[in-house]
Symmetry: C2
Subunit: 154 residues, 2 copies
DNA sequence: CGGCTTTCCTTAGCTAAGGTAATGAGTTAG
DNA sequence: CTAACTCATTACCTTAGCTAAGGAAAGCCG
């Protein structure tokens, strides 16, 4: 814990400020995730499936194993998720060019359209939720969002 | 994200920057929640049970219905959660003074001790995770944590 | 080349943590 | 005083993850 514990080279406790932040963060993440579950754009698409599509959108393509690692899910779970997405026509599975054990997952045009639609609905939801925040609070969230994303995949 | 830059019905404008923030936030929350699930401090306590204890810590006491609303969980689920916590001696159930349908849930001293212990362990875990963040990034997370908590209960 | 070991995806079976529908007791309104 | 509503609960079901075990391809080493 190099950076975080920088002020405590002697193994001192984490500052109380950070402890409060951890508590708040953990609690907020758990509750928000529960609400996001219900706020699914397509009733037939789970949050993790959405997240996979998002990852695919950023990376272009990936193997099931890579996706499992990125989503912090075990390979068998990713197999099922990818199978679901394929059945719904949101994703295409092709053989890996170099390694016949692996497969390559790519999103379809349909998936892209769906992502766009989803983005719209999410923003509507968020806008309503965020109406309870003042400009300053929202600025803090905006600043932290990319960092949280980084944190999630560390 | 064309929809985003258009003025909202009430005249407020959502900058395109927010679209990226929403995406990052949603994705990060889902992934973090998954990891938090596995990183439970006490093996015998689910994340939601932890969250309920946290709420109880802040509010002092509450009825099962109130807790269900705060945690965004259905009443039957909260019944089960509270029963678990009671079985583990972390919570006490008493009859409501005015309304004999309701019950009042309060945390025991044992719960308080456990929260303290849990806080310590969580900090260790977080510190390790946060070793990938620089001081500036961590400051952003710390600033946003309370806001996220507010957001989660709006 | 021929045989281990490892890696990747998959199948099968399990569990945990939530949800819905229906019940029963207590309260409030008409 | 009955009718309607609310709170907690019970019973049952669904979902989304897991582990364990497998089969096929690739890599290694004699």
């Amino acid at each position: 814990m190099p950076e975080l514990s920088r002020p405590e080279p002697d193994g001192r406790e984490v500052p109380p400020d950070d402890a409060a932040a951890v508590n708040a963060l953990r609690s907020a993440v758990m509750r928000l995730s529960r609400r996001l579950k219900h706020q699914r754009v397509d009733e037939s698409l789970s949050p993790t499936e959405m997240s996979v599509l998002g990852t695919l959108f950023r990376c272009g393509h990936a193997t099931p194993g890579e996706l499992a690692r990125k989503e912090h899910v075990q390979p068998p779970s990713m197999t099922r998720i990818v199978a679901m997405l394929e059945a719904k026509g949101l994703v295409r599975l092709e053989p890996h060019p170099d390694d016949r054990r692996q497969k390559v997952v790519t999103q379809t045009e349909q998936a892209e359209a769906m992502l766009e639609e989803s983005r719209r609905k999410r923003n509507a939801w968020l806008a309503e939720l965020a109406s309870g925040l003042d400009e300053d609070e929202w600025a803090k969230v905006r600043a932290a969002a990319p960092v949280l994303e980084k944190l999630a995949q560390l």
